[in-house]
């Protein structure tokens, strides 16, 4: 079936099976490789993208369910928070092999957007909401980078 989509601020149209997961529409039909395949079962988080305001595991999310919501990959989140996250990621030199990182940034963006302005302790408790797997073990620096972003946002609001 023909489906109209908005992906990373662009309107596109694809002709695919309604059951095809969003991940493979992005990678195969739109040639967007920044969202990765890790498990195909929604468990590892390497394929996390925004659909509207929520994040989904795109490897198990059928394209027919996207509807009119905008799909945003790491390349499509362009706001001060995503800029701050990238800067913190570079400052802490978080990435190792890097494969999980684009989706991890999407997950971190979503979690932090709920926590900006709130105490650090609340974010630390919420880290368990990020279930993305990183086999290189960058977790320690991911947390440090996210806490950095939260702290600087608190400083700015004061």
């Amino acid at each position: 079936m023909s489906i109209d989509l908005k992906v990373d601020q662009q309107n596109v149209s694809v002709d695919v099976d309604a059951a095809k997961p969003l991940l493979w529409v992005l990678r195969e039909d739109l040639g967007m490789q920044q969202t990765k395949f890790g498990c195909g079962a929604g468990l590892c988080g390497a394929c996390t993208v925004y659909v509207g305001d929520r994040t989904v595991r795109s490897c198990t999310f059928p394209i027919s369910r996207v509807g009119t919501a905008e799909v945003r990959t790491v390349a499509g989140i362009k706001d001060p928070l995503s800029q701050a996250l990238k800067e913190a990621w570079l400052k802490h030199d978080v990435a190792q092999c890097g494969y999980c990182q684009p989706a991890l940034l999407v997950s971190a963006h979503q979690l932090l957007s709920k926590h900006i302005g709130k105490p650090e302790a609340e974010l630390e408790i919420s880290f368990k909401e990020i279930s993305n797997i990183c086999r290189c073990g960058t977790y320690v620096r991911v947390r440090a980078a996210m806490l950095d972003v939260l702290r600087s946002s608190l400083a700015e609001t004061r």
Binding site: R27, A41, G98, C134
Partner: protein, 710 residues
């Protein structure tokens, strides 16, 4: 360490096409036996480059497997230190092309053994220094000065009065016609600007923004996708290929592969779906019912209990003194098979033509991949080119050539360029696993304390697959036969290889991943028997080993081992491996019948740290990798097949559970040691020793999550 002389053959100077400047090509051998390879320098056809552009940009192009260890940045630092390049303006690039087989004599290349930086330290610095001297010579000629009146700094040439005479880029072309000096002067350590600093990886931004091209991201015009489905039990056969092949409708096609079937078509997702649904019927693997987890474990335990056979290491009179001992302890340990599970599953892209083959692979060993494809397809290796992509994790798995050979066969059979991606289930069920291993250790005690240590370990050989004639596989012995403790004077160690029919391979830290766990836990059992503090006891039996003592004393200080209010919850492990000396402390709480690792401290003496930022990341990441395996890692066998398939059945550590990992380096100035695998083997014993200390229960069979604590 040998002083490398940079000669004309090593440094190939040429003009940059399309841009005014100079390209300085040199080989960066990526060999397991690098010293041998360097002796035969004509064999080194792998080219890396320093490119100096007329606008003074400097690009370092490195051919190496980048799988998270930050090697592009570390190697560029070594080149740029003596070159005196202005670091912020230096860019690094992973060069795509490797063609080792254009020279038939070229050996296989590999990135393994935590060797990249340490094997290249002196050599890359010398190359950087040679290029610097070339540029100074060129500047001297153009200003009618002698080279000794000039010096290089921040990608510029200065005269002795401190005045800038020119940039590197301005004299780069003139340097084309000069001869590289034979013995360039290297700067002393106190003048280092890059080495030893915290330097951010140059390729981080392209990775986090998703622009770095991994193996699974390769896109070619006219490319098709492939998926594979292996026969589930090791050695089983498909009995209805023609029947299922008839069910596959165009444009999809299925093909038989060794121990698998593969599908090729315009969509990976669709192809995988069709392949999974095919009603394949398999014959049982030979003696399939004998290959059950409990039976395989029993075979290893039986092997380690058998004391017949020769000793591999024998020191003093261990058997005699064990017999004389007034008290003995004996422990049997067992570790499970482990999957590598890189987040990017096995994948490869192949374009097989009549007269040439191109491969795009996330590989730790491009040379081996070319050789394997040449053999499988009956081609001349000189016609095969490997393009190395970024690796989405390697951990030893991506030195194997199974996926690339499949991709090449499928490309040849379908007549298309083919990108093959394994499903997560295939990746988990058809890995080459960290071998399951058992060990039996005994200690005898008498009036003088520890009287004797005997041990035997047993498991399958990793190397026999590639070298059937090998007598004893050294990978099974690493860290088991040679203990770092000189104070243990009566020692006898045996090993028995047992083929359990499950494919095994190199898993980050290889034999040490099990052997350090066996020996370091048993050492804590000995210390407990003697009523000794585990750290003090190790200091006592280390003997004359100032670096080792310093690592342990530093660890005692940073972890507050002797005075922390938590000290009963701390556990320790020590090792000398990959050229480095390292020790770790884990702080562990037992809560709600479960283990929670609160903090890990690691102290490492790797001689000298090149990139403090990257080195710390390697130790942190290696520790988390080791902890994930210690807590959860296991692959079990039923009917000669793997029971786990996707991450649901084989969990990994997640972000909220990961403890802080505090890393301390000791710059002893000793020969450079490796980092990538150093911390991984320390974590299981440190955590188990911490559990032992507070619960008196030693975990002798991993993973820890299989236990419920009271």
């Amino acid at each position: 360490m040998a002083q490398w002389t940079v000669n004309r053959r090593e440094l190939i100077v040429s003009s940059l096409t399309g841009a005014l400047g100079i390209s300085l090509g040199f080989s960066l051998p990526i060999f397991l036996e690098e010293s041998q390879a360097l002796a035969a320098d004509e064999a080194n056809t792998l080219q890396s480059f320093i490119k100096i552009y007329s606008d003074n940009r400097i690009e370092v192009v490195v051919v190496k497997a980048e799988m998270g260890q930050g090697v592009l940045t570390s190697l560029a630092m070594l080149l740029c230190e003596d070159l005196e390049a202005y670091w912020p303006d230096v860019t690094v690039k992973l060069e795509g092309e490797v063609a080792p087989f254009l020279d038939a004599k070229a050996p296989f290349g590999a990135t393994a053994g935590s060797s990249s930086v340490r094997s290249q330290y002196q050599r890359l610095r010398s190359i950087g220094a040679s290029v610097r001297d070339l540029l100074i010579q060129a500047a001297a000629q153009s200003f009618d000065l002698v080279p000794s009146e000039l010096y290089a700094q921040d990608s510029k040439i200065y005269d002795k009065s401190g005045q800038v005479r020119c940039t590197f880029g301005e004299v780069a072309r003139a340097a084309l016609y000069l001869k590289a000096p034979d013995n360039p002067q290297l700067k002393s350590a106190d003048k280092f600007k890059l080495i030893g600093q915290r330097i951010a990886n140059k390729d981080s931004l392209e990775k986090i923004e998703g622009r770095a091209v991994y193996g699974s991201d390769v896109q070619l015009p006219e490319m098709e996708y492939a998926a594979v489905r292996h026969h589930p039990s090791f050695g089983s056969q498909l009995s209805n290929f023609s029947e299922i092949a008839a069910q596959v409708a165009a444009p999809y096609k299925i093909f038989e592969l060794p121990q698998a079937i593969g599908i090729v078509g315009p969509s990976y997702w669709q192809g995988q779906k069709i392949l999974s649904a095919l009603p394949a019927v398999y014959t049982a693997a030979p003696e399939q019912s004998e290959y059950q987890q409990a039976k395989l474990e029993a075979r290893l335990i039986e092997a380690v209990k058998d004391e017949s056979g020769d000793a591999l290491t024998s020191k003093g009179d261990a058997l005699g003194r064990l017999a004389e001992s007034s008290e003995k302890i004996e422990s049997i340990y067992l570790v499970p098979y482990l999957a590598h599970s890189p987040l990017e599953p096995m994948c490869a892209t192949a374009d097989v033509r009549k007269d040439r083959i191109d491969l795009w692979i996330p590989t730790q060993g491009p040379g081996g991949a070319v050789g394997a494809v040449a053999k499988a397809l009956g081609r001349d290796p000189a016609t095969i080119k490997a393009h190395v992509t970024f690796l989405g994790g390697g951990f030893g798995r991506k030195i194997e050539n199974d996926a690339v050979v499949q991709a090449a066969i499928l490309s040849e059979k379908s007549g298309k360029a083919v990108k093959l991606i394994w499903s997560r289930q295939e990746d988990t069920q058809h890995d080459v696993y960290r071998p399951m291993f058992a060990a039996r250790l005994q200690a005898g005690f008498g009036a003088e304390g520890l009287m004797a240590w005997t041990g035997k370990n047993s498991g399958s050989s990793i190397l026999r697959r590639s070298n059937p004639k090998i007598k004893i596989d050294p990978t099974g012995l690493e860290g088991f036969t040679e203990l770092p403790y000189k104070g243990i004077e009566h020692l006898r160690v045996q090993h028995q290889e047992v083929d359990l029919g499950v494919p095994v391979g190199f898993w980050r830290s290889v034999g040490r991943s099990q052997n350090t766990y066996f020996t370091e836990c048993f050492l804590d059992e000995i210390a407990a028997k003697l009523g000794r503090d585990p750290l003090d006891y190790r200091l006592e039996i280390l003997g004359d080993n100032p670096r080792g003592r310093s690592v342990l004393e530093t660890l005692a200080r940073v972890s507050a081992w002797r005075d922390s209010p938590q000290r009963q919850r701390l556990g320790l492990a020590y090792s000398e491996a990959f050229g480095s000396i390292a020790a770790a402390v884990a702080q562990v709480a037992i809560e709600n019948k479960k283990v929670r690792v609160e903090k890990i401290f690691v102290v490492v003496d790797c001689g000298r740290v090149i990139n403090r930022q990257g080195a710390e990341a390697q130790i942190q990441g290696g520790a988390i990798f080791g902890l994930s395996a210690a807590l959860y890692g296991k692959v079990t066998i039923k009917d000669k097949r793997v029971e786990q398939s996707i991450f649901a059945e084989s969990p990994f550590l997640r972000i909220a559970e990961a403890p802080e990992v505090e890393v301390t380096f000791i710059d002893s100035g000793a020969e450079l040691g490796g980092l990538g695998e150093v911390s991984t083997p320390l974590i299981a014993p440190a955590v188990c020793n911490a559990i032992f200390r507070q619960s008196q229960q030693m975990i002798r069979k991993l993973p820890i999550a299989d236990y419920v604590f009271s």
